[in-house]
Symmetry: C2
Subunit: 214 residues, 2 copies
Amino acid sequence: MRIGILGTGNVGGRLGTKLVSLGHEVKMGSRTAQNPKAAEWAKANGAKASAGTFADAAKFGDVVFNCTAGSVSLEALKLAGAGNLGGKVLVDVANPLDYSKGMPPTLTLCNTDSLGEQIQRAFPSAKVVKALNTMGNEVMVNPGLLTGEHDTFVCGNDQQAKAEVVEILRSFGWKSPIDLGDITGARGLEMVLPIWLRLLGTLKTRNFNFKVVK
Amino acid sequence: MRIGILGTGNVGGRLGTKLVSLGHEVKMGSRTAQNPKAAEWAKANGAKASAGTFADAAKFGDVVFNCTAGSVSLEALKLAGAGNLGGKVLVDVANPLDYSKGMPPTLTLCNTDSLGEQIQRAFPSAKVVKALNTMGNEVMVNPGLLTGEHDTFVCGNDQQAKAEVVEILRSFGWKSPIDLGDITGARGLEMVLPIWLRLLGTLKTRNFNFKVVK
């Protein structure tokens, strides 16, 4: 599959590398075509990895991952271009974290709205699926890093798009992603961040995740 | 131990009954001394159970549980009386859910504040510990209801108060409550509610909880 990754941070890099290792062709997009982090990532990941602008990556991908910082995701997606995202599965991994008021970050929006919903409203012909935002990037691509079972979630308005994302998650090692319904489920998923950040401070490791126990 | 329960709903009733079964004396408080639900609960739970006003219950308890609806907790606690709460462990189990805009409920506050913090600010001499708000009342008092291990959390500004609450949680069957630090941790704990409510819809049971997997 051809996949566009928007964002050159740890999340984009880790997901891109995992997707290349699974045989996909991946283009990492950023604000400029000459972003050094994207170029370095492409060089390190071989012939199936490439770099370009947000628009290049969005155009390239059959599936596009939003791995930009949540506070600038809408702007980055505008640069990617509605035309390049239309009809495509857009996996929103971002969290709307606001670091401007110091640590710990708060959310730029929550409760009655979410970044996932904002993106879906701004790009109505994209098939937005919120996924993977409730854990560190190390765990995202390698659930086996932790001992025992734990969970990942998807939500979005398009069933087929969610099924495609679940297939990708399964290829990462996630056995049973939990479907939380339509894109308004992104509220709950993004509002997990405050307790995740608090646990990060308590557990002194990024390698943890939640399991839903019945 | 003498325990005051504020609130006559499912949470207050379930916690009160469990605490009586463990040998504590429990007074359930409500707006009026003659609340029929409180009277019925007291009658059903024998000699160690009694009912009264919010103030009666707060005065009675060495430890006081706030089990009122989050939207009216501050008002209920004012009726309980700062003098009756001063110096005591006040376990805040409430969630600031706003049902006024329909289902699912949103939170009346979150992100940069929490009900736990509001209560601590309003009653500075009470030792507020947020606990047990991230699960249904059936699981609160009976963690063995679910298969395998799962987690409960505490946060608050007073270490000794948290230790006392942890002791009570252990008596319910919780093996290792996780300490999330000071009362600002209540933000994360209360912001679990949206995903909890979403999972309630997905799983079609109240009998589930989160485990932190490392």
